[in-house]
Symmetry: C2
Subunit: 168 residues, 2 copies
DNA sequence: AATAACTTTCATTTATTTTTGAAAGTTTAA
DNA sequence: TTAAACTTTCAAAAATAAATGAAAGTTATT
């Protein structure tokens, strides 16, 4: 396969995967492009490679920087901005986990806690089951969220490395 | 808060969360509704509660059953079908992990393997970096996918329980 | 302080996804 | 076998999300 073709396939696939996970296609594609680019790219470069408008490129680059997985760079003597992706995959995973937790899981937990403790004087079977089930869900999501947090420190400690080795 | 209100808030929140994760809103709402319902619900019940059309209900219930997290039930003497959700949260997590792996991660791995080994005689810096980076990505995703698989067995083995205890 | 080089914003357009509802399909019962 | 009770399908409509591009905004240069 030719390089151009392989790269294109990768970018397309990453974009499609992104949409399945609730990330907009262009955002995922820009990220893919930057991941495999050895040099920082300008907005112009990205627009041309992906055939997208300036506004689209600008907004999605901004979003990627908000996620903390793409950085601005300046080249000396150049006026325009260049962009690079976080290429360390462990670091990338940590950043994504942190952001998803902050943006989505934490707010969900808040609601779960609220609804699981809010229904007080309804003695019906329905209400009892509701309180019970949402309570369990709260505990479960909280535990999962904590594990995610812990997992980000995991690889740095000896026990983690040991477990990974055993599970291999 | 009144039961009706709390339940509604839960269903709405679960639906919104779903869309952020690439799951359609109605599907997530139906699931939420069934999760907190002590009794199986008919399609009619669901349509009425969520104010959705018959077609919509039918298609999303089918999808939920394809994911293996909602089951059909028959009540004796009743002609119509009833539905219940998997209420064991560990079981639910396992099912979701398995399905996402099968539908999304496995195909992505296939492409990653393909593109990371496809570019042969291009000696450019760009091509080298591409092959290197996609190769690393393949390894990383493969490892993550394996860990997900392992995690589903995790709670059943002594080492897993020990680690969870320590990490708590 | 005017101009050039570049980036961001946002109202409008376009594309994608979801929902509807009526027709077709299926199963049970009389 | 016919009809009633129910479910599924799918073309069309509606809702939502994403992309465009030109104007407004910034920052550096002369």
């Amino acid at each position: 396969m030719e390089f151009r073709e392989a790269k294109n396939k990768f970018v397309q696939t990453w974009g499609a995967l992104g949409s399945q996970w609730g990330i907009n296609k262009t955002m995922a594609q820009i990220h893919a492009l930057l991941m495999v680019s050895p040099e920082p790219l300008s907005m112009e470069d990205i627009m041309e490679d992906l055939q997208i408008s300036r506004g689209n490129a600008s907004m999605n680059l901004r979003a990627l920087m908000d996620w903390g997985i793409v950085y601005k760079e300046f080249k000396q003597g150049e006026r325009k901005e260049f962009f690079t992706a976080e290429k360390d995959l462990d670091e990338l995973a940590v950043k994504i986990a942190q952001e998803r937790s902050r943006r989505e899981i934490k707010p969900a937990l808040k609601v779960l806690k609220e609804v699981s403790t809010a229904v007080k004087d309804d003695k019906s079977e329905e209400a009892k089951h509701f309180t019970d089930q949402t309570g369990k869900l709260y505990d479960f999501v909280l535990k999962a969220d904590n594990m995610l947090e812990k997992a980000t420190e995991f690889k740095d400690n000896w026990l983690g490395r040991l477990v990974l080795k055993i599970m291999k």
